[in-house]
């Protein structure tokens, strides 16, 4: 199956969900049905299938398939937690549309088309950052987000257009490649909110609903970064230019983001800010991946993107469940939360393990390889051990959780399952066997009806335990991916069809046009190989 059905389902479900935003129940139901359908279509995607739409190829790949599956499943989990906590009106529809746009970007082998789609998907996020009826600050945040998206989109469009030509003449001017590379790298850093471009992202973390935070700060920028990786691999890296200054700049942004992002997450009291800055810190590793102009960086960079987005989504869902259950997300007010929410405490441990990782896990291998390839040895050692400091972040949250419960926690919902009302007892009145048989059947039917009747109330009463289970599943998924499950390494290793067939034209002296004119081979299968061969 090609990627087209996925895009159609996403467009229809997202649009209908947004049109019906006034009716939250219907809007959310349509989004959930759409996400279920998207999951099914994503599982059926063929990595080799390609389709030509108006001269633009949309090609599948193993990594795209995994991204689509994980995005749909994680979005389902996030919406489930959101429904149990706050139920933001626009979030489900926006999430569906944005996932569709991200998949469209990843399916396009032509980087020029891909950046357009990735930018359009980011703009959908403005709808949740500046919702109608929100405070004036939301409009300010939305305007700044729009500006950041426009700047990053323009930089990426210019960079891809500059090098999307026969490069025989450009090859004599390395500065052109350096500028284009730097522009796209900076665009990715701004999209991730990497330090020092983090101001707009911090405001978004403050204003956007928690359910949309992973989408705005992780999933959509990750798709943008994946497009950048493919473009760098096709257009810049094969030239084997030194580009040392540009690489140092990009690596510096990544390093600063890793270190300062962790420090900022450690000192924050607002849990949503902790999520935001931990995303910034993990995004720093993704930015480092752009500084590696070596085929060895291809697999770890794409592995890390998936590990990081799923892990941070689980953390955001955890914060959402805590906020919904106890009515606050300020850490000082959450003393004793772990006593009343042990499932969420177990989830946090899993999230922490995913985030910190250890040697042997795919997450650790990917991160350490990228740091090793991008940075000189002494600095690399320091940056490699920096994420271990995240123990302090999660330890602090857990430490607060095991204390004596505070007022907000005592008044909160808690995870203990409850049934809203006692079920009526029905004594047997029949004397004969047949009578008792009929009576038993009647009691069974009545009992079933009693339970069914109370089921909606029971779901409402047990929102917190249900949310905790959803978070536990998400954190389990994150741990699975961090361990290299679901074939994440193989998917990351596979070279996209267009990349495999388009590397040659980028070389000096070549006159063939890269990208759009090249037909992807429908029979090419993903294989473990170097993503490009340096041009001699």
């Amino acid at each position: 199956m090609t990627v087209l059905p996925f895009l159609v389902v996403a467009a229809v479900a997202g649009t209908c969900s947004l049109i019906l935003r006034a009716s939250r129940g219907w809007s959310t139901t349509i989004a959930i049905v759409g996400l279920l359908a998207m999951t099914w279509v994503a599982i059926s995607l063929s990595p080799d299938a390609a389709i030509d739409i108006g001269g633009t190829i949309l090609a599948g790949s193993a990594w795209l398939r995994l991204y689509a599956i994980l995005a749909s499943v994680v979005a389902l989990g996030l919406i489930a937690v959101d429904v149990s906590a706050f139920h933001e009106p626009d979030a489900p529809g926006v999430i569906v549309i944005a996932i569709g746009a991200a998949v469209l970007a990843l399916a396009s082998p032509h980087a020029g088309v891909a950046v357009l789609a990735a930018t359009a998907g980011g703009l959908a996020g403005v709808l949740v950052a500046a919702p109608l009826g929100a405070a004036a600050r939301a409009a300010f945040v939305g305007a700044r987000e729009l500006r950041a998206l426009a700047i990053t989109g323009a930089l990426a469009i210019l960079a891809t257009a500059w090098l999307a030509r026969p490069l025989a003449e450009l090859a004599t001017q390395p500065a052109v490649f350096g500028l284009a590379y730097l522009a796209f790298g900076a665009a990715v850093a701004v999209r991730f909110g990497a330090i020092p471009f983090h101001f707009w992202a911090a405001r978004v973390a403050d204003a956007a609903p928690g359910v949309a935070l992973p989408l705005l700060m992780a999933w959509l920028p990750a798709a943008f970064a994946a497009v950048a990786l493919v473009w760098i691999d096709q257009s810049v890296a094969p030239m084997a230019l030194p580009l040392s200054t540009e690489r140092v700049l990009i690596a510096a942004i990544g390093t600063v983001s890793i270190v300062l992002g962790l420090v900022a997450a450690l000192v924050q009291d607002d849990l949503e800010h902790v999520v935001g800055y931990s995303i910034v810190a993990d995004a720093g590793v993704a930015v480092l991946g752009l500084a590696v102009l070596d085929p060895a960086g291809w697999e770890p960079a794409r592995t890390w993107l998936l590990v990081f987005v799923v892990g941070r989504s689980a953390f955001a869902a955890w914060v959402l469940a805590i906020h919904g259950g106890f009515g606050t997300r300020r850490l000082p007010d959450l003393a004793g939360w772990a006593r009343r929410a042990p499932v969420l405490a177990a989830s946090l441990v899993a999230i922490a393990a995913t985030s910190i990782a250890w040697p042997g896990l795919a997450a650790w291998q990917a991160r350490s390889t990228l740091i090793d390839l991008a940075l000189p040895r002494p600095i690399a050692v320091l940056v490699m051990i920096a994420p271990i400091a995240a123990i302090a972040i999660y330890g602090r949250i857990l430490l607060v959780g095991v204390g004596q419960p505070d007022t907000a926690v005592r008044a909160g919902r808690g995870e203990r399952p409850r049934w809203p009302a006692s079920l009526p007892r029905r004594p047997m009145a029949g004397v004969g066997g047949l009578e008792r048989g009929f009576e038993r059947a009647s009691h069974a039917l009545s009992g079933t009806l009693d339970v069914a009747w109370l089921l909606p109330t029971a779901v409402r009463t047990n929102r917190m335990p249900l949310a905790a289970v959803a978070v536990l599943l998400l954190s389990g998924l994150a741990f699975l991916i961090a361990g290299g499950g679901l074939g994440v390494r193989e998917a990351a290793r596979a070279v996209p069809q267009a990349a495999a067939s388009d590397t040659a034209p980028s070389g000096p002296g070549s006159t063939a046009e890269p990208g759009p004119s090249a037909e992807p081979s429908a029979t090419a299968s993903p294989s473990p190989q170097a993503s490009f061969a340096p041009v001699p």
Partner: protein, 268 residues
Amino acid sequence: MNVALAIVAGLAVAGAVLAVSARDVRATVLGVLIVLIAGPLVASPWPSPAAILARVAAGLLAARLLTIGLRGEEATAGTRIGWPAEALAAAAAAVVGFGSHGLGAAALGPAEAQAAGFALIALAISPLVTGRDVLRLGIGSVLLVSGALFIRVGLDNPPRDGEQLVISLLTISLGGAIGVIGAAARAAGGLAASSVAIGLPVPRLPDAHRDIRREVGVEPISPKPPVAPKEPGVATEPPAVAKAPRAVPRAPRRRTPRTPKPPSGDAS
């Protein structure tokens, strides 16, 4: 040089100058619409009719979304340096773009597109950097992305139909995003309310422009302050607002005609 392309590119730049200079919201939206509609036409060869139709429809829809979000708003801050200065800056950038066509290698698109792209990006810088009201920031964003797309057309092969479709989606997303932000700002008290809320300085009214509202006798242009939620039984003080210009123009001072000096009697 293709004269027809140059004319269309000139129209696009003129629309952009109108968008960044005008203080009337309708004129601003009209300027944006001109830029968006001229976008697909600054190409050689032209896209297919279906692609042009899709781009024009997307431009119209984006303008409509903008209008919906800004319904009721009549004025934005406009430029501080006046439209002639903006036009000159755009012209200078267009000359640079035309002269540097290809940016280091033979280009596959028309030089006029690159010239228009440079002009649009030059015009976008001021609203993006100094814009305080959300409409100016939005206009700057549209012009920046449109400028980048113009340059892309000037450098690379013309976009195919599929890419034109994605550009159309991007155009609609831009219009929708600005409309949503504008509506949120308007609900909070005005286009500049978001800046007021976080303590940024309110955009000062340009001195060099006449106040178009005085002619129709409506309230003067000034950013509306955010409305504080009123609690029962608590008197709320109106927030401090920047001093607004006078609503009613002061009547021109008339000189009283001098009475002729009475002839002195000792003349005789």
